[in-house]
Amino acid sequence: MREKLIEKGLLLVAFSAVVMIFLIAYLIFREGVPLVAKVGVWNFIASTHWAPSRGNFGILPMIVGSLEVTVLAVIIGATLGLSCAMFLAEFAPRWSVRILKPMIELLAGIPSVVYGFIGVVVLIPLIRRSLGGPGFSVLASAIILGIMILPTVIAISLDALNAVPPLYKEGSLALGATRWQTLYRVQLPAARSGIIAAFILGMGRAIGETMAVIMVAGNALTMPTSLLQPVRTLTSNIALEMGYASGDHQAALFATGMVLFVIIAILNTIALVIARPRT
């Protein structure tokens, strides 16, 4: 009897999270859909002109901006993160793993506003002086985000590498392969699905990050055609203008959230499919 009660209780709690997601989705779509219907789907996602007070609701530059920043961030984060995970899994002496792993986990605990602040104080002037432009740019956002997703990428790909059965490694080494050959040709392919899942989860974090990006992206409304140009992402658009928005403007911000929701849902679905253990 008591067993059942606890079981049902847990079920209820577990479902509350699901209910929450549906509630959020419902709220976003209910506010956003009427506006998209009013201005037209195509006008909303394919127009480059955003001026809510004048009735222009085009978010294409922000969609492009979000994707551009995210892809670059994942390239940076994936390269650094996977290298780090490979080192930790195979080459690092045990004492250094004991130091490095907690440090990387600490990186995940730093609030995003701190990353943004460091970006403004250190990275922006550096880019402005050495590469030109205002400094607030696609590049700055991508570098900051690339660093921010490192803990996610490292932790998950390290788990994936560690989950490769030791038999694979031993067999490869017994056949005369070097440690690098074994890692590159045997362990990495075996851990492939986990590593790709790590990249995609990192991508989800990058595309959803707001505070740090607002601080370093410059938030201009142009189509970002150069890495040194300022850019506005979907999340920054919502957070920047939410405070004062009302009426159609507010609905347009919800609609921006809708687009973001769909993009993230697609990314997560891909991650789920890839990370599913093969049967």
Binding site: L27, E31, H49, A51, P52, S53, R54, P61, V120, I124, P125, R128, P134, G135, F136, I214, M215, G218, N219, A220, L221, T222, Q229, P230, R232, L240, E241, G243, Y244, A245, S246, H249, Q250, F254
Partner: protein, 281 residues
């Protein structure tokens, strides 16, 4: 109720909940009031509240941001005693008691290393509309201009738009002047402070902030030959001036009235001047 849970409704709900918190703790007295609204007015109101509470230890005044529109809604629905606004009320919002507490000029600022110190209104408009893109055209070095504006909906941006971006524009047939649009590649920041920090760090940058927040790392531009000083702001000669408003729903009473009286008193006004605003009386 649930079906009408809009964002604004939720925000209001949370807002109310936050306001009710101190009641739950049993610390509330008849003398506790809340101010809410414009983030431009907020720091000044906080300072005034601090000074007032020092003189009246039994009073409890809390100051919250949220933006002019949120403040107007809050005072209209009596969620807070005093609303703060840095913009004029729209016709639909009229009906509240408006108490101007100070003048605030919006100053154009550049980096101290930038030699350009004078702009006409038309030049200022063209810089932010993206028609002038190099400092050389304004008598400065041959470098690209980095213009920084505020986010859509900001009170500071609205004032700047209606005073500067309409410069030299003729009225249309409905008697309305249509402001020039901000250049889409202008940087957008969401606070006076952020704009000032960028201008302080970047010799090519230009932005606009409350004149009260100018510090030694940035230089104010003479707009049409006029510097934003107390005299030019009070007399209205400086062209970009707005009023900071306190709003009440009906005549203020109790602590709210006492606080407003203090703000308009000589010591309250002096405190505002010390913080960089210009006295209203």
């Amino acid at each position: 109720m649930l079906t009408h849970l809009s964002f604004r409704g939720l925000a209001r709900l949370l807002f109310t909940a936050v306001l009710l918190l101190p009641l739950g703790c049993g610390r509330a007295s008849k003398t506790a009031i809340t101010l809410a609204g414009s983030t431009s007015v907020e720091p000044f109101a906080e300072r005034l509240a601090e000074l007032y509470m020092r003189a009246h230890p039994d009073a409890k005044i809390s100051v919250q941001g949220g933006g002019s529109s949120a403040g107007i809604r809050a005072v209209t629905s009596r969620i807070c005693a005093i609303g703060m606004s840095s913009r004029e009320l729209t016709p639909e919002e009229k009906g509240l008691v408006e108490i101007p507490i100070a003048h605030d000029a919006i100053a154009l600022i550049v980096n101290v290393r930038n030699p350009v110190r004078r702009l006409t209104m038309e030049q200022a408009r063209d810089v932010f509309a993206g028609r002038i893109r190099n400092w050389q055209k304004l008598g400065g070095p041959n470098r690209r201009i980095t213009a920084i504006t505020r986010e859509e909906g900001s009170g500071t941006r609205a004032s700047f738009e209606e005073k500067v971006m309409v410069a030299g524009t003729a009225k249309d047939k409905n008697g309305k002047t249509n402001p020039a649009a901000f250049a889409p590649d202008a940087l957008v920041q969401d606070s006076n402070g952020a704009v000032r920090e960028i201008v302080a760090a970047d010799p090519d940058a230009i932005g606009y902030i409350s004149a009260g927040l100018i510090d030694e790392r940035v230089a104010a531009i003479l707009l049409g030959g006029i510097a934003p000083t107390e005299a030019t702001i009070r007399t209205g000669r400086y062209p970009v001036v707005r009023q900071f408003l306190f709003l009440t729903n009906g005549e203020a009473t109790g602590t709210a009235k006492a606080f407003i009286d203090y703000v308009l008193s000589d010591s309250g006004q002096t405190a505002l001047v010390e913080e960089g605003l210009t006295r209203i009386r």
